[in-house]
Assembly symmetry: C2
Amino acid sequence: MLAEEIKGCSVAQAEECAAWLRGQMIDAVRENGGHLASNLGVVELIVALYAVFDFPHDKLIFDVGHQCYAHKLLTGRSLDRLRKQDGVSGFPDPQESEYDAFIAGHSGTSIAAGIGMCAARDRIGDRYKVISLIGDASLGNGVALEAVFSSEKKPSDFVVILNDNGMSIDKNHSALYRSLCKMSAKRRYRTFNSFLSRRFKETGAFGRKLRKIKYTIKGWMNKNDFFERCGFKYVGPVNGHDLHELLTMLGNISKLEEPVLLHVVTQKGKGYEAAEADPARFHGVSKNFAAGENSFAVALGRILCERAALDESLVAVTAAMTEGVGLSDFAQQYPDRLYDAGICEEAAVTMAAGMAKGGISPVVCMYSTFLQRAYDQIVHDVCLQNLPVIFCVDRAGFVGADGKTHQGLQDLSALRTIPNLSVFAPKDCAELADVFDYAWNKATPCVIRYPNGYAPNLGQRQPISDYYLWETLTEGEELIVLASGARAVARAIDARRISGCPCRVVNCRTIKPLDERLLRDIADRKIITFEEGYACGGFGSAVAEYYASYAQPVRLKIIGAENKFIPHATTLEQAEACHLSVQDLARKIKAFSEQR
Amino acid sequence: MLAEEIKGCSVAQAEECAAWLRGQMIDAVRENGGHLASNLGVVELIVALYAVFDFPHDKLIFDVGHQCYAHKLLTGRSLDRLRKQDGVSGFPDPQESEYDAFIAGHSGTSIAAGIGMCAARDRIGDRYKVISLIGDASLGNGVALEAVFSSEKKPSDFVVILNDNGMSIDKNHSALYRSLCKMSAKRRYRTFNSFLSRRFKETGAFGRKLRKIKYTIKGWMNKNDFFERCGFKYVGPVNGHDLHELLTMLGNISKLEEPVLLHVVTQKGKGYEAAEADPARFHGVSKNFAAGENSFAVALGRILCERAALDESLVAVTAAMTEGVGLSDFAQQYPDRLYDAGICEEAAVTMAAGMAKGGISPVVCMYSTFLQRAYDQIVHDVCLQNLPVIFCVDRAGFVGADGKTHQGLQDLSALRTIPNLSVFAPKDCAELADVFDYAWNKATPCVIRYPNGYAPNLGQRQPISDYYLWETLTEGEELIVLASGARAVARAIDARRISGCPCRVVNCRTIKPLDERLLRDIADRKIITFEEGYACGGFGSAVAEYYASYAQPVRLKIIGAENKFIPHATTLEQAEACHLSVQDLARKIKAFSEQR
C-alpha cells in the first residue's frame, strides 16, 4: 500500500506521488464524475500527512469529505469505479476502510467529532493523534463554530488543519509559527505574497456570499489569536502545494502535544488548468466533466424567475447550493433577491422565518439531506408561527452517486409530522409550476419535494386545487395504486402496463393533507401506496393512519424503501436494490390483484 | 397601557416602574412557577427599551424568551395566570400580542430572525428598528454564531443587545463607545469595576461549562472588534441596572442608522436576594420557588451513577441541561465524565459520536424539544455509523407550563424513521433501569424517551429481552390496547378499569423494533394504539405500517395527539385538550369494544 511506502519519504518522492495521484483522480472523475476541484487542491497536503503521521493508528477526520480521493488512493483503493455500485464511495466511510476514521458528507462536523474522539482516547489511555481537516467554508457552519468556541481549552494531540482555499491572508507572525520555523531551522520561510494576493475566483451569488463569510472569518484569523483564544496553537499560513514546507511543518507538529491549528492555503483545482480557472464548475461534475442534468432544478429556476417578475415580495433563500438547486439565472436576474447564507442551513431557515414575519415571501431551496440540518428551525421558527415559507426540497429520493450521506429518503417522514406544514410532491416539472402556485396562494408553510436527474413530463395535467388534491391518471376499479412523487408516479404508470393489471393509478401530489375524499371512496378496494422514500413514517404510513384514525380495516399494502442507509450507485440501481423498480412494482401489483 | 405611559419617561419614573415590575413578577412566579432569575436581570433594560423605542412599530425579538415577563407586563398582560391554561405564556408568542414580534423558546434564533426581518423591511421600504435581545450563553449556539458571522455587513437600523449576565468584562474603550459617551455629554461614564469584577456564580458542571464558553467568547469581546469585524458598531459595556445610563445610551442608539451591538452587563436574579445568591436555582422554578419533581430525571441520574461505577467507559453528555435531566449527582461524583457542551445541541451529539467512535460509551441526555435541534447529527454522525450512543430523551410528551415551544410530541415520529436507531419508552422508573441496560448491551444507537413530572411505579416488572419486547399487563381477548410510554400505559390501566371492558393492556416499551410476534398474534382482534405524541407518524403509525407491509386488514384504531401546537397548561389539561385523558380513552375503549 502506498500509505506505507511514502511514510518518511523525501520531498522528491512525495512530489512524484502527488503527480501520480492527480493523474489518477482526473482520469477517475472524467470517467465516473465526482468532486474534482476540492480533491485536486489537497493532494500535497494529504501526501504530506501520510508521509508524517501513522494512519490508521492516528486518526484523520475529514469534513464534508469531498476531498478524500488522494486519501483513498493512498490507502489502496482504486477509483476505477468511483461512486459506482460496489465501487468506492466519493466520501469517507468507516465501513470501507479502517483509514476512514469518521463518516463525512455533511459540513462542519470534523472538529466536534475530533474533540469527542480525543476525549475517548484520553479516557481509555490510548496514544494517537487526531487530525481534523476542515475547509474554510465549512468553518462558518454552526456545528463547527460551536466546537471551535466550545471551550478555551482543547484536547492535546489534536490537530485541526484549516484548508483555506479562498482567503487572502496576511503573512503570519505568531510566536509559535516563528518557533516552528526555528525548529525546522534549515531554511527561512518563503514569502507567500504572490500566492496569497491571489483573489478567490468563484463566481455567481454563491461565490460572492462565500467570499463575504470568508472575509468575515478572515478578519479574525488575521488577528492571529482567533484560534489561540479558542485553545489552539496557531501555525501558518503554509503553502499547501509546497511539499517541502508541508513535510517540515507537519513533522514539527507531529512532535507537539499541544492542540494545534495548522492553516494551510491551497488552490482549488490545482494542477488541472480548466479546474483552476473555474473551480466552481469543477466542484462536482458528471462523466467527462459535464454538468449534471436536473430537470426539476431547471424548472424551479424558471418558475422562480417568472413569479419573481410578477411579485415583488418573492425572494429566494439557499445555503451554498445556488447552482445545484437551479438558481443561477435567478441570481443573475435578481441578485438582490437571492439570499445565500453559505453553509448555514439553520441560519438560512430562521432568516427566512424573519423575512416572512416581516412581510415578504421567501422560497427556501435546499437539498433534502441538508434541509434536515434545519429541522428545529422549520418546526420552531417557521411552522410554529405558521409563516408563508415555501421549502423547495431538491434531491428528494435516491440521489445516486453521492450515496448514503446524501440520500433524500427521510424528508417525507420527518417533515409530514410537523404541524401547519403542507407537503407536496409534483409528478413532473409541469406540475411543479401548478403546485408552486397552489402553495404560494396558501401562504402557510409548504414543502415541495422532487428528485434530481432527468424527469420527463408525464403528459396529463389536472391543475391542483382544494378539491382536486390528487389526480387520477388511469382508470381501474379493483386495485388502486396511490403513487407519490415524480419517480413513483412514472414507475407506477409503467408497472401498470407491464403487469397487465388494469389498476387505477393516482398521482398523490399532496402528502399532507391527504385527499380524504378519494381515500374514503376507495376504502373497500385493494390499495397499494408507492413512494421513493422510507416506508417507515412516509406517505403510505400517512394513508394507513388515515384509515386507522377511524378503525377502518383496509386491504392496504405500503411499498417504500426499507429503513436502511443506501450506498452509492445509480438512482435506478438504488431503486432496484430497494425493490422499488418498475418490475418490482409490476410483480407486486400482479400478486396483490390475484390475491383473494 | 404602561408601554405608552413610560415612553420618554424620566429616570425616576423608570425606576419606579422597574420596582413595580419586579414585585409583580416575583409574586407571579411564586404563585405560578416560571423563570425568575433571568427575568429579574433585564427589568431595567426592558423598561429603558420601552421608554426609548416605539413598539410594536419597532420590533423587539427575544432569544430563548425566558426573559420576557417585564415586556409582557408593560404591554398590558397580567401574569396572574402565568403559564396556566388560558393565561399568558412564559415565552413570547405573536399570537398573544402584536408586541411579540417573533416566537422564542429555543436558543440562538434572534439574530438570524432579526436579519431576515430587516431584509423584509428594506425590500418593502418600511422604516422601523429591529432589536434582537440575546443572552451571552445563547450567543454560543450555532445558529447565533452562523448569523453573527454571516456577513461583514449587517442591515441598518438593526440593534443586537447582548445581555451579558455572566462575564467579567474589561472596561471598553472602543471609538463608538466614547463617541456615544460624548453624545450623552452631560456626565462621565461611571466605572464599572466593582460591578464587573463580580464573578459568575452559577454552580455545578453546568455553571462551569457555561463559564468556559463565556470566557472563550469573552476573550473575543475584549478585543473590542469582535462585533466590529462582523459588521456591528460595538457599544458598551453598559450597566444594565442603571437606568440613567441605559436611557442615555439607548436614546443615542435610536438615532443611529448603523447596525449596533449594545453590550449590557446585568445580574441574574437582580433585586431578589435569594435569586441573586443562587441564580441557577431560580432559573426555572415551580410554585413557591420549589424545584420541579421529575421522577424519570431523578431515576436516570441514579442509574447513570450506578452504571458509571461499574463501567469506566460510560460518560454523560448534555447541552446546558445538567440539572434538568437529573445529572447533578453525576456531575458531583464523576465531574470528568460529564461533558456539558453549553447550548450547543449539535456539537454535543457530534462530539458524542466521536467519543463512541473512539471507544467509550456516551449517554446523551436532553429534552425532547432540544434534541430535535441535533436531528441531522443523530442521522449523519451517530446512526449512519451505527455507533453505541444512548439518547435519554426527557420531557417527551406534554411538557405542561412551558407550552408550545417546548412540547415533546414530535420525537417519536422524527426519530423512529432513522435507520439503525432503536426507540424505547419505559412505563415507569423501575423499567427505565431495565431498558437502559438492554440498550447498553445492544451497543447500537438507542433512544429512551420519558416524560417530566411525577411518574409512579406501576408495579409489575417483566425484564425486557429480545423475546419479551412488549409486556402484557392485563389479560383480555377481544380488544387489545397497545400503550406506549409511561403516561399512556398508566392511563390505559385506569381506562380499562373505568370502561368496565376487559381489554388486554400491553406495555409497548419498544417502538422500534415492534414486537412483531405479538402483533401477528393479535391481528384478528380489535386493536387500539395509545400514545402521548402526535398520532401523525408516531407509534400507532408504526403498527399500522407493520400490518400494511403485508396487506393485512386489521381493525386498528390509532389514538394520539392531533397534529397541532399545544399551548401551556398542566400536562393533564393538555392531555384533556387533545382527548387523551383516562376518560377519553375509557370512552373510546367502550365504544370500540361495542362496535360490531
